[in-house]
Amino acid sequence: MNALNIKKGSTKHSAYNLRPSFSETIETHTLAVLVDNEAGVLARVIGLFSGRGYNIESLTVAEVDHAGHKSRITIVTTGTPQVIEQIKAQLGRMIPVHDVHDLTAEGRSVERELALLRVEGTGEKRVEALRLADIFRAQAVDSTLESFVFQITGTPEKVDAFAELMRPLGLVEIARTGVAALSRGL
């Protein structure tokens, strides 16, 4: 007897097909997480994101208080408002986490990223690269007769735009730091 009136072989009935009825709008948030700088703390944070299926767009980490052994992790993540709230709650309950700030929700903040780009070329392309670097206020921090390494600082969008312009001019390699962010003064 098949009391459930389910077609034989149907796979539609699974207890795991349970979608919450929260908003589906995807938002991008920048989180600043102050943690104890102890072994494994970054693995814990990253493991939380991968284990629960959250996104990481960008992640930076460095010690900010040497005496107090505190590091600041800046994470740019995306998700529905409910997922963003979950991420903050999940981060907040970790033992080495002291503070979780949602810079996007808490008001205006400054976000900056640094990138190094090696651009190879000669002749007109080389001149054009230098000219564009000047417009973007990128500095040449290394140069040979056939290449430059530019250093650029700015929002991720600015770095994207600069990299896009450098591509036809001989961009061969790029290194980016990811976003560091602070809330603005009141």
Partner: protein, 584 residues
Amino acid sequence: MTKAMTGAKMVVQALRDQGVDVVFGYPGGAVLPIYDEIFQQNAIRHILVRHEQGAVHAAEGYARATGKPGVVLVTSGPGATNAVTGITDALMDSIPIVVLTGQVPTFMIGSDAFQEADTVGITRPCTKHNWLVKDTANLSATIHEAFHVATAGRPGPVLVDIPKDVQFASAEYQPKAKAKTARYQPRVKGDPEMIERLVEAIETAERPVFYTGGGVINSGPAASQLLRELVDATGIPITSTLMGLGAYPASGRNWLGMLGMHGLYEANLSMHGCDLMVNVGARFDDRITGRIDAFSPRSRKAHIDIDPSSINKVVHTDMPILGDVAHVLEDVLNLWKARGRKVNREGLQRWWAQIEDWKKTDCLKFKPSEGSIKPQHALARLEALTKGRDRYICTEVGQHQMWAAQYLGFEDPNRWMTSGGLGTMGYGFPASIGVQVAHPSALVVNVAGEASWLMNMQEMGTAVQYRLPVKQFILNNERLGMVRQWQELLHGERYSHSWSEALPDFVKLAEAFGAKGIKCDDPADLDDAIMEMIDHDGPVIFDCLVEKHENCFPMIPSGEPHNKMLLGEASTKDAIKAGGAVLV
């Protein structure tokens, strides 16, 4: 006064300072120095299990039956990896466990040494927190912090990995009082404004229901007392998750029985039809909610939980109250009393009339059989013959677990140990050992299925060695009953690998371990056989041969809401005739 001692000695000293009286463990190369210290003292009892998974489940059973953290000591590599299932089980069910693992010496870490495993890496996602101690000077403080983290806030398992050279080296012992606990201090008092909103809601609700969970048990005996007082004083019906059974007595006037996938008809329909749901220490698990978008559509929801990540995780809450259950309930009760003990009497009267109507469905009714033992009947008899005794019940995972939750009545907290979140087959037997160690003279029964029980049957050695009179009540249907049920209902009756063709003779198995075996396959002999089991002073394997194709009802088919409940064949027809809510 602090003094220098070896790391191994420190471990034992720290456990003593934490009030630990028993450790469940298994020795090996990387923990030999600690075992050497255990050998030279008598304050802490060590229970030698037969597999590290058993050690963790035993510690879980001990923790749930006492409210104290359970302690596990295992070696590096396979010792630690074998413990992982138990640790994950404790995480899912919020059970305070402190696991101490040996590790290869610090200078060999990363060299793929013999019995080396990245224990903190492997257990990072399945512990509340874990530590690798690389310096003996930090060892005792770390163990004290581990106990704090395991027990404070939402309890859970923690692990301290101790390399062998750290056990040998000496340093100054840090007493418990000096431990670093400041960085983890979860809030216990609820927000007064939100509590006031909840009290107002309780005063006016027409169809309120309390939905309680394991958080009430974890909060301690005071939480259960306060819950009982609040429920009885307001006259509001109460249902509970699998984890929360016993917080409110099964004989209580307002008790609706368990809710959820195999919960009672009246409990689930109350959840579906209520206008105020007060979630006390439960987490809207998928076995409880069924289809989320049809879950209790017309109710305002309050949620009392100590873990902020539980709130608004799957179900939107109108009144979130972050705090410890006992603290919050005390405030709710006091404020409700101070405001004049008001409830919506008319509304409640109509609500109870509706519930009484639902109760008439008698959803646990089953067709008794004369030729074979129905599993429900076996549990009903077990209940009748053990009720009123100093009784603790453990279970494995599957149909028998749901039947135990349905047919046994729990009058007090901490008397019901079952693997809820992880659903770990093989949990119950070692858990029963842990319970019996904590309560040597109590009647400890593990309600099991034969398939689950075989997963940790090696612990018979432990039960016999320590003369632990645990009763293994095996409902033997020679099937993986719950898997078989789902295959029947959802997979076109294709019974893929859900039966065992080579089961042992359980009576001979018991005898091989030096224990007693009882076999029963006739309903007429059942009572005498159960009494024989209870009266035997020693471990018993009770092989209860039951009806092989019995299904567990009521059942909310997966992916369906609470009001699409499937009742057993015995009562389905009546219910449809009665024109009640939509069935089948």
